[in-house]
């Protein structure tokens, strides 16, 4: 297809899209006006029902908790998939792996980290972990929660790699631990769901004591699920990070060493 005909096809598509877009815009409610029935209803009842002040958490982990469980397992499957793909190649180089193990420190061919990065990274590790824990623990009170907090926690592992060496990352997030965290987190969410069944109610019903609204220890299963999700996300992201780095370093070492 020539450049001109491709361009004409593009403009034709743009025209069609533009017409549909403007047509759709005309049907939208005015800016700032909200007419969702569920949203308005939940705004009235959710705090009283769940004792969670962050309604987003109340919706994702309580009202539609089963839906989020599915999303949780999408993430779980994705992490496992990446790990399996990367590991298959590592086995192919099992012998190179052994040799590389001995000369890990010297044979790192990447340029040395600058002092500025090291100092800044070191200074950031502590606050990052603390902030991650804060975001996780306050998921039911303020914006945040397991997903965001979990990624923040995993970022701390990345900072360790940036400031220290790969070996240091291995020490703070060993494979067995990250794998365990990922599985326990994902399974923990489902386990919380079974609490509802044990109490003779539906799966994922919020059966735990709800506590005082606004307190850290409140909102029943929402807090528990938040913690489970954070463990899974932090573990999963650290696992992917470690697998990727392992691969990259391994290939480098095979070529140079």
């Amino acid at each position: 297809m020539s450049f001109n005909s491709r361009r004409n096809l593009f403009f034709l598509g743009m025209l069609g899209f533009g017409v549909l877009y403007l047509w759709g815009l005309k049907g939208l409610p005015d800016f700032g006006r909200y007419e969702g029935v569920y949203g308005i209803t939940l705004n009235k009842v959710a705090v009283a029902q769940t004792h969670a002040t962050n309604l987003v958490a109340a919706v994702t982990f309580d009202y539609r908790g089963f839906d989020t469980l599915g999303e949780e397992f999408i993430l779980f499957a994705a992490v496992v998939g990446v790990a399996i793909l990367l590991r298959a190649q590592r086995d192919e180089a099992a012998t190179a792996d052994e040799e590389a193990e001995e000369s890990k420190d010297e044979s790192r061919s990447a340029p040395h980290t600058s002092d500025a990065v090291r100092v800044l990274g070191l200074a950031l590790i502590g606050p990052t972990v603390l902030f991650g824990l804060y975001v996780v623990a306050h998921g039911h009170l303020t914006p945040g929660g397991g997903l965001s907090g979990g990624v923040v926690l995993a970022t701390a592992a990345l900072l360790v790699y940036l400031t220290g060496e790969y070996v240091a990352l291995r020490r703070v997030s060993p494979e067995s631990l990250t794998e365990l965290a990922e599985s326990v987190g994902a399974g923990g969410y489902a386990a919380v769901g079974f609490l509802g069944l044990l109490a003779g109610q539906a799966f994922l019903t919020n059966v735990l004591p709800l506590g005082t609204t606004g307190q850290l220890n409140s909102s029943g299963t929402i807090l528990l699920i938040n913690l489970a999700v954070s463990v899974e996300v932090a573990g999963g992201f650290s696992l992917i990070l470690a697998e990727f780095l392992e691969q990259t370093l391994l290939v480098r070492e095979r070529k140079h060493g």
Partner: protein, 79 residues
Amino acid sequence: MELLHGLVLVFVAVGGTAVVLTRDPLAQSMVVSFYGMLLGILFFVFQAPDVALSQLVVGAVALPMMILLALAKAKAEKQ
């Protein structure tokens, strides 16, 4: 709609275009990270702080990190 809303929308539009126009994957991973941050600011300005936080960690941190790691692996293999 206030000035801030319009301003942020324009920034996001420019940022999205910049991601598409950047052709080098390494530079693109940086631009997409910046674009992720702009989107996060957009959600925040439009009063969706929870979504903004998720967007920040996924769009501005996790996604560029995955791209960078994949690039590093591809480059190491090519050498």
